[in-house]
Symmetry: C2
Subunit: 303 residues, 2 copies
């Protein structure tokens, strides 16, 4: 098990690796999303507009780095990561719709419905979600592995996973949210896909059930730490660095980990979860350094 | 090959069989869609509201009857049919949204967005689409068959299939629509899933490539005949029997098979396609009677 001190500082190579994988994801997504053609070419354009050109690509990064740690095929891990990214992007496209969050900007450019209209945005989201499963069906992996990837993606992205979390976020009044509720909400809304990312990397590499359980535990701790850090940044960050309006949660009287645990309590909790996440990787010793660095990256980020 | 005369009249048992399968689909869907639970229970309710309680269930019927003809497992065919039905239902839920067709009623009850609001309707559609693939991942079939079912569903329901057809329908002006365009539109918008239905039944039963090709040819001819009959009913039907407003297409100056071919031309074309569809089933002789009856059902229906 690595000492806490050794993993306190972010590996200098980490940002480079993150950037490299993001570049590979961009290229692979470009290849996996059909080029505009036919009378319906606008839907190909809209899907590409939504999926290409940016983002940290944290989910595919986790798929790739988990597969790398376990000695799996990076090429197939990259495609699986892109399938997951398509699902993540579809959720953003639908989330931005006027009847949902009604956002005009995403990654510094107009949201899909602002650029292409609401109907095409609904359909582009549908198309990206559909394509996620198509990509998983096409990757060069054994059929039983692909079936696991499909089945678990449908669970993680479905009514008991990501969509369930979105629904709780939309429907449960702020006053009714305690720590247990916002923890459950986060576990579904963002945690389920982070868990899927590392498990998918595990499946690509033929991980054992024991290994998959350790990876899931790592992902769950890190996912929650990620959300707590988000809440902390809303209080401590300045808008310019964070890249979006801050103090919004408090202004809205929103129940967050900071409003419930206090700023210091939240910081302590995030740190504790981060350490626990890293300790879950003990079985892989030095090979897990990038996944450990990912935890530090998540906690040290200023945006 | 059956004589044209022998298949002219609808088998008296056909309506019973159609009704029986619809009942089985209803029961199976009820089992495959999770019961409302947790803080997000409204999304389970909305998904069940959309998927349960009605419809001819033509697509699952085709899956089941094709599998039956080929000696495949009816139980697995039924689940695969339900996966396809979930995908079909999601497309209706999103189609009915205010930013799409803005419909208030579906199968005689308020559309999902009228009953649950636009945000939940978007998410319920997303959830049903996601569940389609989840169901395919879970059925008791060999992994390689499930991968084919997943991959082809993603194609048939995606940008080059159903979604592509919807986009053409939304974006191509009426004046630019000739017979070739509306044929292509139909082949994508409704034809792709009918094709998928019979191929899926074939996969469940382990059909050969030659058999799958014949099934696809049958489905393509029948799908087009179905659409032409729709256009004919809009001109010849009375609103009460058809169950919706008629004469709408002509009032809107819509390019339809009737406006392009004339009423008699369209009737002739539908009949011709129907005969051709039935002839595609020659390899299966008497065992194909239900699939032949389905063609007559499609052409003789008054609504």
């Amino acid at each position: 098990m690595p000492s806490a001190a050794s993993s306190q500082l972010l590996d200098a190579d980490f940002p480079t690796r993150l950037r490299e994988v993001a570049g590979m994801v961009e290229t692979r997504l470009d290849a996996l999303l059909p080029k505009p053609n036919g009378h319906q070419s606008v839907i190909f354009e809209a899907a590409r507009y939504a999926a290409l050109g940016g983002g940290k690509r944290l989910r595919p990064f986790l798929v790739v780095e988990t597969a790398r740690m376990l000695g799996g095929s990076l090429d197939e891990a990259l495609s699986v990561g892109c399938a997951l990214e398509c699902l993540h992007v579809y959720s953003l496209v639908h989330d931005d719709l006027p009847c949902m969050d009604d956002d005009d900007l995403r990654r510094g450019k107009p949201t899909v419905h602002r650029a292409y209209g609401d109907a095409i945005a609904v359909l582009a989201g549908d198309a990206l979600l559909t394509r996620s499963f198509g990509i998983l069906g096409e990757v060069d992996l054994p059929a039983d592995v692909k079936v696991k990837l499909v089945t678990e993606l449908a669970m993680s992205g479905g009514m008991s996973g990501m969509i369930g979390g979105q629904v709780v976020d939309i429907t449960v009044a702020e006053g009714e949210r305690d720590e247990a509720l916002i923890t459950e909400l986060q576990a579904m809304k963002t945690g389920a896909l982070i868990d899927y990312a590392v498990r998918a990397g595990g499946y690509v590499a033929g991980a054992s059930e024991t290994e998959l359980a350790a990876l899931s535990a790592y992902a769950r701790d890190m996912g929650l730490a990620f959300q707590i850090q988000d809440d902390i940044l809303d209080v401590t960050g300045d808008a310019e660095t964070v890249g979006k309006a801050v103090g919004k949660d408090a202004d809205l009287g929103k129940a967050t980990f900071v409003s419930i645990l206090g700023l210091e309590g939240a910081q302590h909790r995030a740190k504790e979860l981060g350490e626990r996440a890293k300790n879950r990787l003990a079985p892989w010793d030095k090979a897990a350094q990038t996944l450990r660095d990912t935890v530090d990256f998540v906690l040290e980020r200023k945006h």
